[in-house]
Amino acid sequence: MNWLIGVFIFWVVAYFLNVSLANSKWHKTRLVRLAVPTVFGITILVVWEGLVRGLQVPSVILPPPSMIGARIAVSLPTLWADLIQTFVKGALTGYIMGCGSAVLTAILIDRSPFLQRGLLPVGNFIAALPIIGTAPILVMWFGFDWHSKAAVVVVMVFFPMLVNTVQGLAATDSMQRDLMRTYAGGYWNTLFKLRLPAAMPAIFNGLKIATTLALIGAIVAEFFGSPTLGMGFRISVEVGRLGLDMVWAEIAVAALAGSAFYGVIALIEKGVTFWHPSQRG
């Protein structure tokens, strides 16, 4: 009971803290912008911990955050090995191969309006499909190890990336292309000096979408078969054993890896497309 009362008080205090912070005259400062979501996040964790303890929820249903934290602390080597297997070998390899080939394909089909009119609708169509369903097929073809996970990631990121790049390459206006013609610029000059730089915001948009897809693809593909290693493997095994603290630990690592991956791409984007209106403000 004490836990529940404590949780309630904490929640009320945090709520008023956030409301007053948000409505204070400092609400545009960096510190407050960071503080408000942090307070919100901490409140969630505290309420979670308190409710689980207060209501004595069994840990096979919902382990408290402290237990998950403890599990992370003692399982670092396992978590690290799983991260390497799934994220670095599976997701990252597939991400680089998939995005790279999509950009190259986009540049190739960009030269042919016919291919564009044919491939783009097909690409758009495929991008909306549950491509994750190809995972069992690819696991059969490429085996249980990370190669099949990378293949799933390639298939998953390829079409969103292709569509974004093609749109980006089309983003120049006719005046800018005319300017290149007055210089007798030719195809390659126009591509490298005008169209690729102009396409960068769209390309990075695709790259950011693909980060999430890559991690999802690599994890879910492991549900269809994997060596005794990897985040997806660990999750499905521990779920079977009701070791939910370990499952949550893997999810925390996955969330962290996912956000970090996204963050890195967003940072590179900031450096490359500093000139774009969306980055200037």
């Binding site: 709520y15 956030n18 409301v19 912070l21 948000a22 409505n23 609400h27 407050v32 912008r33 408000v36 979501p37 307070v39 919100f40 996040g41 096979v60 249903i61 919902l62 016919f114 291919l115 564009q116 009119r117 044919g118 491939l119 097909v122 169509f125 909306a128 499909l129 549950p130 994750i132 369903g133 190809t134 069992p136 097929i137 696991v139 059969m140 073809w141 980060t211 999430t212 991690l215 999802i216 994890i219 879910v220 549900f223 269809f224 078969g225 985040m231 997806g232 999750i235 499905s236 779920v239 079977g240 009701l242 939910l244 499952v247 949550w248 999810i251 996955a254 969330a255 996912g258 956000s259």
Partner: protein, 303 residues
């Protein structure tokens, strides 16, 4: 026309690769039997194997036809049955997920504390592989016994039997809802904020209140964003339902078909389940697009 050419090209590549990928098995079999196979025999065989590495398109179509039209729809081998299971979970989750998403978006737009506290998390959550928690949700919900839409007794009392789709639908719907939730929140917040300052100022000169502004400006201007996020949400909900079927009990639905297919090496079954899922996704997204076109036209937002 270009689309047809591309599709035709894909078909040709597909047939060619199924020859390339399946011929090893054909030659192995022939070698074991001690017979020579000519090229045409080899090609014919690669397109007709029972468990090919890559089934030829017509095999998949035949299997689709077989399991859609020639089975009773209540049969466990009917794709209509499995598709319906997946569809019902997707729809249930989608409705709840988007509904809650829209509500939260309205809250975020009208409450600065909520905006500053929740919005960063909603955006960050899009970078997190949420799908990874699917197996856990399924197991936890079975542990506490919350899996059926209506309990067996309630359903029997109401309908005289428990409809198949109600069984085990809840965990799947929860995951589907969860996945469709965040894209809708982010899209709707963008949409509700899309009116520019001039339009907002105009309503201010009319002395319109927050509510008036919401109903006559914010909500209508958010419609295009709403439909865009509904499409994303629908696709995400379907993926969520399929992935959660990998660990759900009883093993039913399109995701389960893929999983059992991969257990037993039934490649044709996987491909037909994949195509069924693709058709389902395309149909769902297309119907949202259709509603989108109609309503935007009615609202005068598109020609």
């Amino acid at each position: 026309m270009p689309i047809l050419t591309v599709v035709a090209a894909i078909m040709v590549i597909w047939y060619a690769s199924s020859v390339g990928m399946n011929k090893k098995w054909t030659y192995d079999q022939a070698g074991r039997a001690g017979v020579e196979v000519s090229f045409t025999e080899m090609v014919a065989d690669t397109w007709a194997q029972e468990r090919p590495v890559l089934p030829a398109p017509h095999q998949v179509v035949a299997e689709l036809y077989h399991s859609v039209f020639e089975k009773k729809i209540s049969s466990k081998r009917s794709l209509v049955f499995h598709g319906w299971i997946t569809l019902s979970a997707t729809m249930l989750g989608f409705v709840f997920g988007t509904g809650l998403g829209i509500l939260l978006a309205v809250g975020i737009v009208h409450n600065r504390a909520m905006d500053m506290g929740v919005m960063p998390w909603a955006i960050a959550s899009q970078t997190v592989p949420i799908l990874a928690i699917a197996p856990m949700i399924v197991v936890v919900m079975s542990t506490i016994g919350a899996t059926d839409f209506l309990g067996k007794e309630t359903a029997t009392a109401m309908f005289g039997y428990q409809p198949a789709f109600m069984k085990g639908i809840l965990p799947k719907a929860v995951i589907a809802a969860y996945l469709s939730f965040f894209p809708v929140v982010v899209g709707m917040v963008k949409g509700l904020r899309s009116p520019d300052q001039m339009q907002l100022d105009l309503l201010k000169t009319y002395n319109a209140g927050k509510q008036r502004t919401f109903w006559s400006l914010r909500l209508p201007s958010s419609t295009p964003y709403l439909f865009t996020s509904l499409k994303v949400g629908m696709a995400a909900a379907l993926v969520g339902a399929i992935v959660s079927e990998l660990s759900a009990v009883p093993l039913r639905g399109l995701g389960a078909r893929m999983l059992t297919g991969s257990y037993y090496g039934q490649t044709i079954q996987i491909w037909s389940a994949l195509f069924a899922a693709a058709t389902l996704a395309a149909t769902l997204v297309a119907s949202i697009s259709w509603i989108e076109r109609r309503s935007l036209k009615k609202m005068g937002m598109s020609s």
